[in-house]
Symmetry: C2
Subunit: 384 residues, 2 copies
């Protein structure tokens, strides 16, 4: 399999873009991405695109049309909250096969628009098994809360550890101009905020945002045309699990993440100890905490220690969500995983807002569907 | 790029499956597909799946769950009416890259269900540019009718040639137990049927059906485990075009098809003259006629001659839609392109209902979105 590198990356702010449609956000992300390509990108060089979106927003054609690239072959990828990193995976396979030399991976979703909010509700009902899950109210906060409540019951972790995730990611996000909630919060604010779905209070939940993000991937044979500082895609992995909760023997782990991580690490020839920086799917604070263990960053039920020691804060041994995470950016699913890779691209090239010193290998992680799908990308920077 | 073969293929009848959901249709198609694998298929051998569906019907997880394969990594592919053959394309890239040895390509849609029909209308509005197309009434029959009317105006083709497509495909479909409309029609019936959208009368239009179809693809290194009569994937191609009609300089050709065909033929190292049998996207009769030219089977404006000489009927030089086509099967978009490949798998192995004598190379063609995306797969049989 020939090697594939990220040679450009860009994103819009994740925000309430009331006045902008998908067709506006896509060119914004693409423009920043193209501008980041060190030696320049000719759009005619792009052989094919993979477009991540929660659902068909205007068909794959609108991507090509909004970018002025009506001849570009575009595939729409949808994989719930893991859409972004699965789009990276599919583009990587196409390049690795030799069929494509340069690929655009781009994603966008617009959740704040009223019409889209109605669609979101419909989508929520469709991604859950109609037999009973959704009728019982298991939309995202409630479904995840079941897992995190059980986790808090079985482990030594407490609500204070959930709050520590929120405080950390808000501290990171406060310096990132791309996030929707760019402010710090205190432990007290987190612990006393209004309840959403026990144990999640307001600051345990990510906001709803609109946004787009884009990457340019290139085959090893042509990387030199675009940059002398490529970020190599070392591994990709997709993992699934049962949709229905009655098929889950253990609520305190997400097998989808475990499977995706095993595949990505195997492909990369790396292990959790090799990761210098990670963007982890903190749609809810407890999911970041539990994912430390599923990703192999901590032993079972010991994830909270990474928070107590500050290991996962910028300045610690394994900074997690230096971008501010979904917690402060929000979560337009088609864009989220790609935006994680945008942050890693900058981290691994030494240009991030909250730069992790010496970061060489990064990991991006999505979990969704509701908790039945995970996609992971492992990137390696040029070394500095 | 290592070679990839189809080693199994199966489908449900395309019909009004009022009592069956997506979760029922998927295992039916998979069971027939698995049973068609000559030396047997162990489901544990499947490394990953690509699931084609018009829209998220129950999330990719439900595919794995309905097949009892909760650990199977599944990517949901959506590309309008070209979804099926684009799912084949993405699975092929994954195998060709070396990342996957055995892949399931499966697709399903359920259009007859009332709720889905509401969703279909919403989806129609979303795949057209919101600026004006849909508000002007350019849903599928009307949009395609603009093209075909202009084509009839500029060429020597007539409404009788459209009717000849319908009569031919109904003659083929009458013998195929998988089609929804298994009866023959006369020229008079076709020409005197009620008008839908001028020039399309009822028999110029495909019916709405529910259905699922599945393929098993395998890398050349492992093909022998499954069959001694593999059907090789020689070429895949995806082509796009502007979504909006005002960007089309010529309504009498579909550039998306021309681009997809160029890519697929180039990859295959073959040309239109090498094709022995084809399944062409006859969502409307005029689209099959126009596609003869876009696919290179006929010179510009001379497609009608293939109908007059009977070349595209079974028994002719280049039989098109021996299955009965979308015209008699209907068009559940996630399944349609995959079902075309199911027909070709049987044709190229000599087991089809309307067998084309000596068929060695086949082509499957989708066009949609509304006319802005095309996906093509070229298959080569084992020779007999």
């Amino acid at each position: 399999m020939r090697r594939v590198a990220v040679v450009g990356a860009g994103m819009t702010p994740f925000a309430e873009h009331f006045a902008l449609g998908i067709g506006d956000l896509l060119p914004m992300a693409f423009a920043e991405c193209a501008a980041s390509v060190d030696k320049g990108l000719r759009v005619a060089d792009i052989d094919a695109a993979w477009f991540g979106a929660l659902r068909t927003t205007d068909g794959s054609g609108i991507l090509a049309e909004s970018l002025g690239l009506a001849e570009l072959p575009v595939t729409h990828i949808e994989n719930s909250c893991a859409t972004g990193n699965d789009a990276v995976r599919n583009a990587l396979y196409a390049i690795a096969s030799g069929a494509v030399d340069v690929a655009l991976v781009i994603g966008a979703d617009k959740l704040r628009e009223t019409a889209q909010k109605d669609m979101l509700r419909e989508w929520e009902s469709m991604t859950r098994h109609r037999a009973w899950d959704y009728e019982l109210g298991l939309f995202a906060p409630a479904g995840y809360a079941l897992h995190v409540n059980r986790y808090l019951h079985e482990s030594h972790a407490t609500r204070e550890h959930l709050a520590m995730v929120a405080v950390k990611n808000h501290r990171h996000g406060a310096r990132n101009p791309k996030v929707r909630l760019p402010f710090e919060i205190t432990m007290e604010q987190a612990l006393q905020a209004p309840m959403v779905a026990d144990p999640f209070r307001v600051y345990d939940c990510a906001p709803q945002s609109d946004g787009a993000a884009a990457l340019v991937l290139a085959a090893e044979e042509v990387v030199d045309r675009y940059t002398d500082a490529p970020v190599w895609v070392r591994g990709v992995g997709l993992g699934l699990d049962s949709v229905m909760l009655q098929h889950r023997p253990d609520l305190t782990t997400f097998p989808a993440t475990v499977r995706a991580a095993r595949r990505a690490f195997t492909m990369a020839g790396l292990g959790p100890g090799d990761i210098d920086v990670a963007e982890v799917h903190d749609y809810f604070t407890g999911i970041e905490l539990m994912s430390y263990e599923d990703l192999g960053f901590a032993e079972r039920f010991e994830g909270y220690k990474l928070l107590e020691t500050g290991a996962t804060a910028v300045g610690g041994a394994l900074p997690v969500n230096p971008s501010g995470g979904l917690k402060t950016k929000g979560h337009p699913p088609g864009a989220t995983g790609i935006a994680q890779c945008v942050e890693l691209f900058e981290q691994l090239r030494g240009t991030a807002v909250n730069q992790v010193d010496g970061a060489r290998i990064g990991l991006a992680h999505n979990l969704g569907g509701p908790t039945s799908v995970s996609a992971i990308t492992i990137l390696e920077g040029p070394g500095r």
